[in-house]
């Protein structure tokens, strides 16, 4: 029972990371109707930026953190201009192939620069964690959960209660009508990419002290996050978050009770089960693509 509680805590922590990346997926999907296959690489690049600023250059953690996020915002903008924007009038297939190309480009550029050796990044806090009854609460996991909760609330407030959020929603629902109403669609899409890159980057920075900072972390996280969006219901914001948490918990328990080497396989298994038996996901939004 104690072990189960401990695993639940860890699962929620890791699930929160998947949820953040999944949220980035969903936001871009809603704005552009395209799945960004380089979303996971945003997390990986941000983690390496942290290594550059905080470890190699030895700058303060908070400054490195802000600089890394600024770097991600820039990367999001470049990504939009270089990968999505030139192809925006094409069908979805060329666009996803281009994002796959971008994902390969990002991962291997970092590999070429940094080499295959995984890097270590310290956590934000000096204190490793606190013991609460039978459960040990690791400080980094606590931080991840707290940040995710804050972001979920922020996200809700931003999209429902600000003018910019409403414009973004209008753009994702009907681009032509939005532009007829004087909303600059290309600006809105640019903002979406920047926001998603920052979200993905945040997830990468938060999870980096738990995992090693490695080239593979991007594709692993992306895979889980995509599975999370399907479990929750594709294109649904709440679904992405619930799906991410569920997947984190399933995976942690699977690794503890079934098999460690195949830990990354559970996401795939759950994904296929959902695709076969409940493709619309838990919240059941949109399965088919627009005709």
């Amino acid at each position: 029972m104690d072990l189960a509680l401990q695993l639940l805590f860890t699962g929620i922590g890791i699930g929160a990371v998947y949820a953040l990346v999944a949220l980035g997926f969903v936001l871009i999907f809603r704005a552009t109707n395209v799945v960004n296959f380089a979303q996971g690489e945003f997390s990986m690049v941000a983690a390496y930026l942290m290594v550059v600023f905080a470890v190699d250059l030895g700058w303060p953690y908070w400054l490195s953190f802000l600089l890394s996020l600024a770097g991600m915002a820039l990367l999001g903008a470049i990504f939009n201009l270089g990968v999505y924007y030139p192809l925006r009038h094409r069908t979805f297939l060329p666009v996803i192939i281009a994002t796959i190309g971008a994902s390969i480009l990002l991962a291997n550029s970092v590999l070429a620069i940094y080499g295959p050796q995984p890097q270590v990044l310290e956590g934000w806090f000096e204190t490793p964690g606190i013991q609460l009854g039978p459960v040990y609460l690791d400080s980094q996991y606590l931080l991840i959960i707290a940040v995710t909760m804050i972001l979920v609330v922020f996200n809700y407030w931003f999209f429902e209660h600000t003018m910019l959020g409403k414009k973004l929603q209008a753009t994702s629902q009907d681009k032509e009508m939005a532009s007829l109403l004087g909303i600059s669609v290309s600006t809105m899409i640019m903002i979406t990419f920047i926001y998603s890159a920052v979200l993905g980057g945040l997830a990468g920075i938060l999870v980096a002290p738990i995992l090693f900072v490695s080239i593979q972390m991007g594709s692993t996280i992306a895979l889980k996050a995509f599975a999370a969006t399907i479990i929750g219901g594709f294109g649904d914001v709440a679904g992405a978050i619930i799906g991410g948490l569920a997947l984190g918990i399933i995976e942690t328990f699977g690794a503890a009770y079934i098999s460690v080497p195949y830990k990354d396989g559970f996401a795939f298994l759950v994904l296929v089960l959902f695709l076969v038996f409940r493709p619309q996901g838990i919240f059941g939004e949109r399965v088919a693509e627009k005709a």
Partner: protein
């Protein structure tokens, strides 16, 4: 989903008379010469390895050209399927000393089954799912290769892989691989002109229309995906025999991306493009060996190339060459004259061809169609009219199976089609056109109509051979007045003519009932007159027509019977003139005083 027709090159088939094998004889002679060269020329070990790699990779890339190029579905796990074949041959010959041929067959079978299962679980959903699921599958296969050490030897790989007795030395084995490449290449080259290949292209161009002209969209996609997996498996088996050693890193996601880049670079839609792409991406890294000293640099360049190719050269090198040399190639051949189109609508049940009983379609709380009854008499022209938003097109979409009926019953010539898929309804004798034209845009008019003629259950095409199909399609195109332009691409036709091609596509199938969705929309007045003439000629052959249109003149003149919908309900039904004078109809259209 609309498929990326913009990416696909254009093939204009010439009309063919001689038997296939004789026409393609030069190909086989050429292939035989290349095989003989591969068997006899003296290569040093290095060149031999490069040739072996290029030959086996090209077969795997052919697989991508089928699934991605022909059918428009993505496969990011080709290296995993390649690995299935390689490990089957590797483990089988090295650990268990089973015959090479048996292992090769087993590898292909495993790839086939894995591909089919993966496809069946995902291909009903959109392309994003397929992309992610194939990536996941690829990762799992790599995990198993590394961790299931008892079976795969883990990261150490499988050494001492055997070859068939017949091809023990490297040179003869290479010749064998080249022969396989030639065979597979022939198959992939010929595939687009077969029934399955046409179905794949139709699915790629317009999934919705493909279903409505009688193609089982899901099955076609699964076939394409499984076929691509088998070719991957075959290539892997040949590869393992060639190099005698395999290890997990040769079948990683990165390798899948290499296959994808090869396919995109050369031109995804044709085996020639695949071969060019494969050759280049094997040779270039050999020339630029110094780049290999930095890990990751190669793949980074591949990633960048993918983005640039998609952006600037979506049809690849071969597509580019095709476009550039188009003006030097022969002009589009004029098709032969055709006989008069025969329409022999099937007659099974009694006087009523279509019997719709209390049909409803709700979208959430919205009752788009609410308890509608329609009875269409055999041989009549029946019109379904109503103001905008009255539920006409929804009714048509429920009839052709694009929407599922919430309740009610549809009988077509005595057959209950209420729960059938669109392609099954077409097989049962339903034909339709669309308000917003849905043709297969990368094909010629003739090919579009041929796909219509191929309807399962069409009794007028004999056994459905190529000659019979194109004859039937020519008759249908001549019937609508476009016979001489049969070999032109869809994009060169005006809007009105595209509409006629859609009608020809439906007529070629020899349907029992023809549904026309606003055929006059967007036509100018002379085109409307032509359309009216055409409808008369169709009706004269006894084909029953159910037409939706806003053009009251057309409806009043063409239809003997009219059903009027408003707010999803039937408000009037009966003989044309009486219905048009009905006070409810007048008020629905003009408002009440």
């Amino acid at each position: 989903m609309s498929a990326p027709s913009e990416n696909m090159p254009i093939t204009v088939p010439a009309t063919r008379a001689k038997p296939l094998l004789i026409r393609h004889l030069p190909y086989f002679i050429g292939a035989a010469i290349v095989v003989a060269l591969a068997a006899t020329m003296r290569f040093d070990g290095y060149i031999l390895n490069i040739l072996m790699q290029a030959t086996t990779f090209a077969i795997a890339v052919f697989g991508l050209s089928v699934v991605l190029g022909l059918c428009g579905q993505i496969n990011l796990a080709q290296a995993a399927f390649f690995g299935f074949g390689a490990y089957a041959v590797g483990i089988g010959t090295s650990d268990y000393h089973i015959s090479y041929w048996l292992c090769l067959a087993a590898g292909c079978l495993m790839a086939l089954v894995a591909g089919a299962v993966l496809g069946m679980s995902t291909l009903r959903l959109g392309g994003h799912y397929l992309a992610m699921v194939t990536i996941s599958f690829q990762q799992i296969v790599t995990l198993v290769m590394i961790n299931a050490i008892w079976l795969t030897h883990g990261p150490d790989g499988v050494p001492r892989i055997g070859r068939p007795d017949l091809f023990q030395n490297s040179q003869s084995y290479l010749a064998f691989c080249v022969a396989m490449l030639a065979l597979v290449g022939y198959f992939v080259w010929h595939l687009p002109d077969t029934r399955l290949g046409r179905a794949m292209r139709a699915v790629r161009d317009n999934e919705l229309a493909a279903g409505v002209v009688g193609i089982d969209v899901f099955r076609t996609k699964v076939y394409a995906f499984a076929l691509s997996a088998v070719l991957g498996g075959l290539a892997g088996g040949l590869f393992a025999g060639g190099f005698a050693y395999v290890s997990p890193d040769q079948f990683s996601f990165a390798e899948s991306i290499v296959f994808l880049t090869m396919s995109l670079l050369g031109g995804v839609a044709s085996p020639i493009g695949s071969a060019i792409g494969t050759g280049l991406l094997i040779l270039i890294p050999e020339w630029l060996r110094f780049l290999k000293s930095v890990p990751g640099l190669y793949l980074a360049i591949y990633g960048l190339s993918v983005i640039l190719i998609i952006r600037f050269m979506p049809d690849g090198i071969w597509g580019f060459i095709n476009v550039a040399t188009q003006r030097w190639r022969s002009q589009i051949k004029a098709p032969p004259a055709a006989a008069t189109l025969q329409l022999k609508p099937a007659t099974v049940s009694g006087d009523t061809v279509l019997e719709v009983t209390s049909l409803s379609k709700y979208f959430g709380g919205l009752k788009a169609v609410d308890g509608v009854d329609i009875a269409v008499k055999r041989g009549s022209v029946h019109a379904l009219i109503g103001p905008n938003g009255s539920g006409k097109t929804t009714t048509l979409n429920v009839l052709s199976g694009l929407y599922k009926a919430t309740s009610g019953k549809i009988l077509l010539d005595g057959t209950d089609i209420t729960d059938m898929q669109p392609h099954q309804r077409t097989a049962a004798g339903l034909g339709r056109t669309f308000q917003n034209i849905r043709l297969f845009r990368s094909m010629t008019a003739l090919e579009n109509v041929e796909i219509g003629a191929e309807r399962p259950g069409n009794t007028l095409i004999g056994k459905g051979g190529d000659a019979a199909l194109s004859e039937r399609a020519m008759e249908a195109l001549t019937f609508v007045g476009l016979g001489p332009r049969a070999n032109e691409l869809i994009s060169s036709f005006s809007y009105g003519h595209q509409r006629l091609i859609e009608i020809a596509r439906a007529l070629a199938a020899n349907p029992t009932l023809l549904l026309l969705d606003e055929p006059a929309a967007g036509l100018n007045s002379s085109e409307k007159l032509e359309l009216h003439e055409l409808l008369k000629r169709i009706a004269a052959q006894g084909l029953t027509i159910l037409i939706i249109d806003h053009d009251m003149t057309l409806v009043a003149e063409a239809a003997q019977h009219i059903t009027v919908l408003n707010f999803g309900r039937r408000i009037a039904d009966g003989e044309s003139m009486a219905v048009l004078r009905h006070p409810d109809v007048v008020s629905a259209y003009l408002g009440t005083e």
